[in-house]
């Protein structure tokens, strides 16, 4: 049985008919064609699927799409505005925080959630906030630096 709902993603409204068991991740990647959020595990342990729901970080792989009905969803595709990279995106590039890039969307979302709540985090606060996002390439050093650099820039 499918259910009507509306997903508001990156400022666009999408009317949808969805089965109850569909996860937010499969709908974003499938019906909506937003493949920025990735699937890296089956137990909410990697964070590659992270999106913001009403500003809060959510593992979209373990969140039912219907639960997000009517809420404001931000995926990595929604961070850049009018062709301008978001300061976090620019900092990730500048600091070398991107390697294979598969964790990058989730990392950016977690970092964005952190900076909205805590605009001037310490390095340990950054590292704990990114604690749900696994990266195998970078050793996290340049990612942590990038988030701190973006936070610096935002208040400079």
């Amino acid at each position: 049985m499918s259910h009507a709902c509306t997903l508001n993603v990156n400022g666009m409204s999408y009317p949808l008919q969805l089965d109850a068991g569909r996860t937010l991740l499969t709908v974003l990647r499938g019906e909506l064609g937003l493949t920025g959020a990735k699937e890296g595990c089956d137990d909410s342990e990697c964070g590659a699927c992270m999106v913001l729901v009403d500003g809060r970080p959510v593992n979209s792989c373990s969140y039912l799409a219907l639960q997000a009905d009517g809420r404001e969803i931000t995926t990595v595709e929604g961070l850049a505005k009018n062709g301008e990279l978001h300061p976090l995106q620019a900092a990730f590039l500048d600091e070398g925080g991107v390697q294979c890039g598969f964790c990058t969307p989730g990392m950016l979302i977690s970092a964005e959630a952190l900076l909205r709540q805590n605009p001037k985090p310490s390095e340990d606060e950054v590292r704990l906030a990114l604690g749900g996002n696994l990266c195998r390439c970078t050793g996290y050093q340049k990612i942590a630096k990038a988030v701190l650099a973006a936070a610096q820039g935002a208040t400079a």
Partner: protein, 303 residues
């Protein structure tokens, strides 16, 4: 992962009616346990889901006549940040602050954690030492059970079909109390207790332990209290030796199993260490020392 019906009631009463009408329906709040379990193939998603995550008024964290009232939908993140919880029910803040990852804490709820009834759940031991009462409502009424009586075994509760956890009432510890929850973890994020312990220590005016409670995580089919440890503490001065002796008594309640996270022998040895640390921090807090939340990150190997 397809399922039949998704129902989204507008009120608690409507939710209870739906639960009564749809036998076998499952409640979904944050979905962190339910959906993950389904994706891993541990279980199939129930035919009917009653989504309660938007029900108004169930996410409160407030003091009500000296008792802490927490709505079932309060998230771990909200509990961890609550100054009220941190000030007087500190062990619960210790626990909520280390559940899963930041995303888990933003979505996962106290009610869901209780209903999932994992013996490794972080919030269970703190609620057990505080003597929390869980309010269960159904279309035919409401009742309250001690949190320890809620759990029936791993993943099982005594809630009847059609019953829903609506809130948790946590009595205020007596003046002169301090509490702490400590878990054994192998890394600093995305962990689950290998073993854990919560302690509530109340000091009398003479500096001796007037009352003490100790509960243990992941060493039995449910969260368990150790009455031997509690008895050992009562009346003693909270010296290192007395605390160690009390912690050595927790084995009355611990009957751990071996799994990929640790052998029974290791868990047995560790629950004593962790209980000692939890009791120690609780005693220090009782004496007025400000040990930061979460306590685990002040004392363990991952600090």
């Amino acid at each position: 992962m397809s399922t039949g019906t998704y129902l989204q009631p507008a009120s608690v009463d409507e939710a209870l009616t739906l639960l009564a009408e749809h036998g076998g329906a499952a409640l979904v709040a944050g979905g962190t346990d339910l959906v993950v379990g389904t994706r891993q193939g541990k279980r199939t998603l129930p035919e009917t889901l009653v989504a309660i995550h938007r029900l108004p008024g169930l996410d409160g964290i407030a003091e009500d006549g000296g008792t802490l009232a927490i709505g079932a939908l309060a998230t771990h993140d909200a509990i961890e940040r609550s100054e009220l919880v941190r000030s007087r029910w500190t062990a619960l803040a210790d626990a909520s602050a280390i559940v899963g990852s930041p995303a888990t804490r933003h979505v996962g709820t106290l009610g869901g954690n209780l209903a999932n009834a994992s013996p490794a759940m972080e919030t269970g031991a703190p609620l057990a030492v505080f003597g929390a009462e869980v309010e269960l409502r159904s279309s035919s009424g409401a009742r309250s059970v001690a949190v320890a009586d809620l759990w029936a075994g791993p993943g099982r509760t005594t809630a009847a079909p059609g019953e829903m956890i609506t809130s948790v009432r946590v009595p205020a510890p007596a003046d002169g109390s301090g509490s702490a929850y400590v878990r054994l973890e192998y890394r600093r994020s995305m962990e689950i207790a290998v073993v854990g312990a919560a302690a509530l220590v109340t000091l009398g005016g003479d500096g001796a332990v007037a009352d003490a409670r100790v509960a243990l995580t992941a060493v039995a089919p449910t969260i368990v209290r150790s009455s031997a440890a509690e008895q050992a503490l009562r009346g003693s001065r909270p010296t290192d030796d007395a605390i160690a002796a009390a912690a050595a008594a927790v084995h009355d309640a611990a009957s751990p199993i071996s799994d990929v996270r640790g052998s029974d022998a290791y868990r047995k040895a560790m629950v004593e260490v962790i209980a000692r640390r939890a009791i120690g921090i609780a005693a220090r807090r009782a004496a007025g020392e400000a040990v930061p939340v979460p306590a685990t990150m002040t004392v363990g190997g991952t600090r």
